[in-house]
């Protein structure tokens, strides 16, 4: 399943993606996160040490997290700020950490967390606005590494056709 999390208020993009995926017959789900209540991560460490796998913040992110762990692909649509994705987009990434456990190992020579679930979710990013795309591409690759998954790439909202071709 392809999970699309739209943190922008532009629903034209998701409408376009939705109709294209429907046409292609690919299973997907779209979450319009701009209408949901999603806090930033407060770094309490509860999801690793007090209530393993569960975030202490009881807001709308919990339903998203439950979907992420079952999705094959997760695409975040985000506005941009300061050359990067904006805080609403970044919060979606920061709050994924309950899918990692506290336990550590080395993978490909670098420290990593053991993942909580067997299923891996690859991560793609769609940016709405100006940003340093090379930096974002590098960053999305590093971010995916933390969740033992792969980056599906970083695209602008002007390349939706191309993006939907990668959604499967």
């Amino acid at each position: 399943m392809v999970l699309i999390i739209n943190t922008t208020s532009d629903t034209d993009v998701t409408a376009k993606i939705g109709s294209s995926l429907k046409e292609k017959g690919r299973p997907f789900e779209i979450i319009e996160a701009s209408t949901l209540k999603i806090s930033h991560c407060i770094g309490c460490n509860y999801c690793w040490l007090k209530t393993p796998g569960e975030c202490s913040i009881k807001d709308d992110y919990e339903q998203i997290l439950k979907k992420i762990i079952k999705a094959d692909q997760m695409w975040v649509i985000s506005d941009t700020a300061l050359g990067f994705i904006d805080h609403k987009g970044k919060n979606i990434y920061d709050r994924i950490i309950p899918i990692a456990t506290m336990n550590l190992k080395f993978k490909n020579g670098q420290m990593r967390h053991y993942l909580r679930y067997d299923h891996k979710t690859d991560i793609g990013l769609i940016c709405n606005g100006e940003a340093d795309m090379d930096q974002l591409r590098k960053w999305n690759e590093r971010a995916a590494l933390n969740f033992d998954s792969k980056s599906l790439g970083v695209y602008g909202t002007d390349r939706i056709e191309e993006v939907t071709a990668c959604m499967c």
Binding site: H40, C41, I42, G43, C44, Y46, W48, L49, K50, T51, P52, G53, E54, L65, K66, I69, K70, A81, L82, G83, F84, D86, H87, K88, K90, N91, Y93, D94, I96, I97, T101, M102, N103, L104, K105, F106, G109, Q110, M111, Y114, R116, Y117, D118, H119, D132, Q135, K138, W139, R142, A143, N146
Partner: protein, 217 residues
């Protein structure tokens, strides 16, 4: 010099590793005759005051934890609300993280350099250091062992107003660990570290294993 110091951690001051690092760093900074104002973005009530100080400062230092390879969402939210300078302020960063190897922080460091431009500030370098995850769990000497070296960094920053010196660069430690160290540390992860995390977890009232799956599969 007078420095505006912003702790960019979303974690409350009491438990923030960045806060403990700044305690030592500021000791060094003061010893060299500098003054500073210090704030925490985890406390939203301070945001208006920090924004005012931001407008009035020409020496800014942001200390932050690495959050998923970059800056925390909350710090980003705050910085989205400041008025960019007009190339009339210097900015430096202390970027600290959980994972220990220097290479883990480089992507974040690169972004900080880019971000400085968007904030209209002159970039004066980033002090990069991993292996800080446990500060909040330690007290007294054990904590000091990790945080005390930051005092020297505060002295250097206090004299040079940047982190460009070789000593600051070397502070990061190894970019990657040699294979034999990885074997030893890997063994420690499976034994001592795992036990101590389980112990903290029990003390925090947890009754589940650390790899528990609350949502099935």
């Amino acid at each position: 010099m007078h420095v505006l110091i912003i702790n960019g951690s979303p974690r409350v001051k009491k438990f923030s590793n960045t806060d403990k690092i700044l305690d030592k760093f500021c000791e060094g900074l003061s010893e060299k005759g500098n003054s500073y104002l210090r704030y925490e973005i985890s406390d939203r009530r301070q945001w208006e005051t920090i924004r005012q100080a931001w407008d009035e400062s020409n020496n800014i230092l942001i200390a932050l934890p690495l959050y998923v390879e970059c800056i925390p969402g909350l710090l980003l939210e705050f910085l989205e609300t400041v008025t960019p300078h007009k190339d009339d302020a210097d900015i430096s960063f202390i970027l600290q993280s959980g994972f220990a190897e220097g290479c883990q922080l480089r992507c974040g460091e690169e972004y900080l350099k880019l971000m400085s431009k968007h904030l209209g500030c002159r970039y004066k370098g980033t002090l990069v250091k991993g292996d800080n995850f446990s500060i909040r769990f330690f007290e007294d000497e054990k904590r000091d062992r990790i945080t005390t070296p930051y005092k020297r960094m505060g002295q250097i920053y206090g004299e040079e107003a940047s982190f460009d010196s070789e000593e600051c660069k070397a502070f990061t430690g190894p970019e990657v660990f040699p294979a034999y160290v990885r074997v030893l540390v890997g063994l420690m992860f499976k034994t001592v570290a795992r036990k101590s995390f389980e112990k903290i977890s029990k003390e925090w009232g947890c009754t589940k294993p650390l790899d528990y799956r609350p949502y099935g599969t």
